[in-house]
Amino acid sequence: MKIDYANPVRFERLAAPATAVLAFVAALALGAGLYLAFFASPTDYQQGAIVRIMYVHVPAATLALAAYAAMAAASFTGFVYKHPLADVAAKSIAPVGAALTFLALATGSIWGKPMWGAWWAWDARLTSMLVLFFLYVGYMAIWRAIDDPLRAARVAAIVCMVGSVNVPIVKFSVDWWYSLHQPASIFRAGGPSIDGAMLAPLATMALFYACWGAAMVLTLMRAELAERRAARIEAAAHPASRLA
């Protein structure tokens, strides 16, 4: 119980200013990124102005996948080493990752209709990305279904770690199988195959997503810790209903 108090207090002292800084940088990057994406970047030689969907779609999808990897790492740390903040971190990453995955799926669909001629295709990349969304939602459902946070953390961590098998499948689906979705443009052998004038808005939007995501996760973590503290105080005040 001692350690359960010690670290969260120090965390709060760090997280509060960090959240403010991240939110500030995110706001700046969003303004600059949207300006670059909509006004100060060229149209594509094949896709015309529709290429601008990339600046919303690609960073969302990349971060959605990275968030799952982070959630799995936090779950592993919480499950094996019982670090008091790890489970809170994993639980807080889930809704942010789910939102990013949903955004990637939705913008991808909007992009697919004019370019491919289809809103949706059951190719390996799209399907594995849909599985990623269900993994996030399932993970969140486990936390809600089990009342005891210690037990919920344990079950959710196992599901999250098993689900991490999907992460390399999403990433390499376009290399392992023929897909309608294009192969990697950024993280690939031989460097990015995107012109510099288009990489600038992409990088700025990626910075926005990263800072926004981190600020959201920290905020959710602080809220979760405050909620647990409140529950403990309540339990101490009413010893009869300790399990509530």
Partner: protein, 153 residues
């Protein structure tokens, strides 16, 4: 320490088991996870009886119309080794052009022609402004020459 070790083993065991299961499943599924067949795969393994998806590049100079029914578009899908003719009646996607990657869905008839009911366009991983693409072509540094000059820009 031993309990931590047990949890470590349990966690890595669960992940290893899931990874093995996924690897075996995908190994068994093989190329059927792929979204489409290539013309060479059809040439090598024969044509399935059911509706399939065929993917490849639209062969340069192959785009035309049916002699009897001009509403039917005809073209050839190739992967550089084998080629499959396609017939399609309907609206083609904007990106459709000769040299472009496409996926056509339908049945292959006795004459080896795919009667498509859907044609989707693929785009590759290259993004650049039109001026850069034109400059690369002017310098002869366009990657494989398989791409016809953009006709719809």
């Amino acid at each position: 320490m031993t309990r931590r070790r047990r949890r470590l083993l349990l966690a890595s065991g669960a992940v290893a088991a899931a990874a093995t299961a996924a690897a075996l499943a995908f190994l068994a599924l093989g190329s059927s996870v792929s979204y489409f067949y290539t013309p060479s795969e059809l040439a090598a393994n024969g044509v399935p009886e059911r509706a399939i998806r065929l993917g490849g590049l639209v062969e340069n100079g192959s785009l035309g119309h049916d002699a009897l029914d001009p509403a039917i578009v005809t073209f050839v899908v190739t992967d550089g080794e084998a080629r499959t003719p396609v017939r399609y009646r309907g609206i083609l996607p904007d990106l459709f052009r000769e040299g472009q990657g496409v996926v056509a869905q339908g049945r292959i008839g006795a004459d080896g022609t795919l009667a498509a009911d859907t044609v989707l366009a693929k785009h590759d991983e290259n993004y650049m402004p039109k001026e850069v693409a034109d400059a690369l072509k002017a310098q002869g540094r366009w990657r494989d020459g398989g791409l016809a000059p953009p006709s719809q820009e």
